[in-house]
């Protein structure tokens, strides 16, 4: 294994400076990169302890040659708590201000990285004792996050923008240091509409989206408007918490919804609805949910913040690999998390799914996970918030986008977690064939015939 410092249990190694050893003549850094900073810290502790107990370097080497490393290590641990010392030292550089953290989530597959990080140990590996708490709806998760009941929370990507600008709540600076998932949503229609696949025939229908400030709302509105329907006048769109969508579809309170999974798949599983179109067919690579945290919390407890972020980034990267998806489905399906049949979650995550119309579809890119919160995402969201009248007047697109979507923090977490380059997934934005230039948001906005601003 790569080491940061020479092995003190190696009789050939020398620990002091200027010992003349050809391998470690000047600097005592190992040539190849260390496994991690924690390992390096543990090595430093071993070295310091051995030197303190055995005195000179020569004495240490003599002893190791006669008794061997294993015996010496065993003898040492009897007189000195080496493991404890390693642990204590490892925490010293970035001591967590807070180890017990509460993170709220809504039971949908968008929250996969946030949820799986608990049962699969991603938080624990960062020294965090995280409790992920299931929450009933977006307004409640927002209020609990603003209250400080949650240290961080699963949010819809537009929510931190809305919270920071004080749209729909008091303005509180909120940030998105990581995106959870891209794609992974769908328009689901009630079975009775299976012959009305052309959106132009949807006048007068009732649709649900999870929240006013959601990608679902903006994507559904965009989709309808591109088909000539005015989403405010020709159809009814209302906010329904995801878990209640299928029950409402069954009760015929709704004709359809642009909702998060597993609700789309659950509607199919129960024979209530069919999947009309996946959100990736509207905008391939769109962000959906985010890991949201208040700026105050991030500044008051920077080490805890970065530890959480590292856990999220690692979990997200793990979730992005198709071969891990079945294992993840098994981890998050139980009652403690999503509380759904495992096959439903598997169909969503693997992209091999029943579409509700009698076909098995294979779309591996149905959902993906990528942590980079590109500021162009935020700018697009802001244009749609303005398009539908949620924000009025001049918007400083670039400044708000950069303040809320923390690309630098995500990059740092990716680097610390050992992932070199952030994948550029979703960097360029094309929605229903129309490219978006984040440098010209106002021109983009003016190009839509149906809009409220």
């Amino acid at each position: 294994m790569a080491r940061f410092f020479p092995d003190p249990f190696d009789p050939e190694a020398c620990l002091g400076t200027g010992c003349g050893c050809p391998r470690h003549g000047s600097a005592r850094l190992a040539c190849d990169s260390p496994a991690s900073l924690e390992d390096a810290a543990a090595e430093a502790v071993d070295t310091a302890v051995l030197r303190a107990i055995l005195g000179t370097d020569a004495a240490r080497r003599r002893l190791l040659k006669t008794v061997g490393a294993g015996t010496l290590m065993a003898a040492l641990t009897e007189i000195f708590p080496l493991a404890t010392a390693r642990e204590a030292f490892a925490q010293a550089p970035g001591t967590l201000e807070k180890k017990e953290v509460k993170i709220g989530f809504i039971p949908i597959t968008c929250a996969t990285p946030i949820i799986m990080a608990a049962p699969m140990g991603f938080y624990a590996r960062q020294g965090l004792n995280a409790e992920v708490v299931k929450t009933a709806g977006w307004a409640i998760i927002r209020d609990k996050a603003l209250n400080g009941e949650y240290d961080a929370a699963h949010m819809l990507a537009p929510m931190p923008l809305a919270i920071s600008m004080g749209v729909g709540s008091n303005p509180v600076p909120w940030t998105v240091p990581a995106i959870e998932n891209i794609n992974g949503q769908a328009i689901t229609l009630a079975m009775k509409h299976k012959d009305r696949r052309d959106p132009r025939e949807w006048k007068g229908m009732k649709f649900a989206v999870p929240f006013d400030y959601s990608m679902h709302n903006y994507l559904l509105r965009y989709y309808l408007a591109e088909h000539g329907l005015d989403p405010d006048r020709d159809v009814q769109i209302r906010a329904v918490p995801p878990p209640e969508m299928v029950a409402n579809l069954r009760a015929e309170n709704l004709d359809g919804f642009l909702g998060p999974d597993p609700m789309n798949q659950r509607a199919v599983y129960d024979g209530v609805g069919f999947i009309h179109v996946l959100s990736r067919d509207i905008w391939d690579g769109h962000p959906c949910c985010a890991f949201g945290i208040g700026r105050e919390m991030a500044q008051a407890a920077p080490n805890t913040y970065h530890a959480m972020l590292r856990a999220i980034v690692e979990a997200t990267t793990y979730a992005a690999k198709p071969e891990n998806r079945k294992e993840i489905a098994a981890a998050i399906a139980p009652a403690n998390y999503l509380n759904q049949p495992q096959t439903v979650i598997e169909q969503v995550l693997t992209g091999t799914f029943a579409d509700g119309l009698g076909k098995v579809q294979r779309v591996p890119e149905r959902v993906n996970f990528a942590p980079m919160p590109w500021d162009s995402f935020a700018t697009w969201i802001l244009t749609q918030m303005k398009r539908w009248g949620q924000v009025k007047g001049d918007v400083d697109y670039a400044a708000i986008s950069r303040q809320v979507f923390r690309m630098t923090d995500a990059e740092r977490a990716l680097r610390e977690a050992g992932f070199a380059e952030p994948a550029t997934t979703g960097r360029t934005i094309v929605v229903m064939g129309k490219p978006f230039d984040p440098a010209q948001p106002e021109d983009y906005l003016a190009s839509f015939p149906i809009r409220r601003n």
Partner: protein, 281 residues
């Protein structure tokens, strides 16, 4: 007085009604099934039984009984923050109700006493009480969350606000309608004010106060389920919401049954207390 034997016949009738109800329920849900449409086996493997076999989404009484036995066999398990046994959930709900209710008793009984003894106060406070009383307790929830900044305490506040009004009005009414003669006798005997409140008014008004308490506990138990469905976390209301999420009607029916049983127990407890303080003139 009921005739002897009537009680036995009433029990028999109750059982008969129950059997009829269960029979009708079973008959209603056992329709359908077996009418599986032609389906690709690969596709069918990805679908639920409701879609593949036309099975009713509504469980039968036997299914509910099996699941109930399962839940009651291990009522106190704890598999993480979001999955706890039904006993723990009921315990949380009861705890919240008791806290909110105790607060309401502490505030409403003394205040009701004051209102009952002073006509001036009664008239001055009446408009406020009349406006606040009919507000649905859940309408307070967003305001409570915003100001109290804690969802657990907000739920307790909602319980408090819904149980305070019947208690207040009943206490005031009970105190105001203590017979004048008794008060006059006490005054003639030069009983101190404190002693008069404690030894004359309180025992005289106790049955009315207990009636208020009985109404309040019923309302509090009704409201806690709705409040917990809203804020989530723990409690029997959260259990209902969590199972609704999973479209598990069986668990929802069980929760309804348990909510009813606990509500009845609470009501009977206060009815018993009411009989203890009752008197006949």
């Amino acid at each position: 007085m009921p005739r002897p034997g009537q009680r036995a016949r009433a029990i028999a009738l109750s059982l008969l009604l129950l059997a009829l109800f269960l029979g009708a329920w079973q008959a209603a849900v056992s329709g359908g099934g077996g009418t599986a449409a032609q389906m690709d086996p690969d596709y069918a493997a990805l679908m639920g039984t409701a879609a593949t076999q036309g099975a009713s989404a509504m469980p039968g009484p036997a299914q509910v009984a099996t699941r109930l036995a399962e839940l009651l066999a291990d009522p106190f398990y704890d598999r993480g923050a979001n999955d706890k046994g039904i006993g723990i959930q009921l315990g949380w709900s009861l705890l919240r109700v008791m806290l909110g209710y105790a607060l309401a008793v502490l505030v409403a009984v003394p205040l009701g006493f004051l209102i009952g003894t002073s006509a001036l106060l009664r008239q001055a406070l009446d408009p406020f009480i009349q406006i606040l009383k009919p507000i649905s307790p859940l309408a307070w929830m967003p305001l409570a969350l915003y100001t109290i900044k804690d969802s657990g305490r907000s739920a307790i506040f909602v319980i408090f606000i819904c149980s305070v009004w019947p208690l207040l009005l009943n206490t005031a009414f009970g105190v105001a309608s203590v017979r004048r003669e008794w008060l006059n006798v006490a005054r003639t005997l030069e009983v101190s004010r404190w002693r008069m409140a404690w030894r004359v008014i309180l025992p005289a008004a106790a049955p009315t106060i207990l009636t208020g308490m009985r109404i309040s506990i019923g309302i509090a138990w009704l409201v806690i389920v709705a409040a917990e469905m809203l804020v989530g976390g723990t409690g029997i209301g959260y259990f209902v919401w969590n199972q609704w999420n999973n479209l598990s009607i069986t668990d929802v029916i069980i929760a309804i049954l348990l909510i009813g049983l606990v509500g009845m127990a609470l009501d009977q407890l206060l009815a018993w207390a009411g009989r203890r303080v009752g008197y006949s003139e």
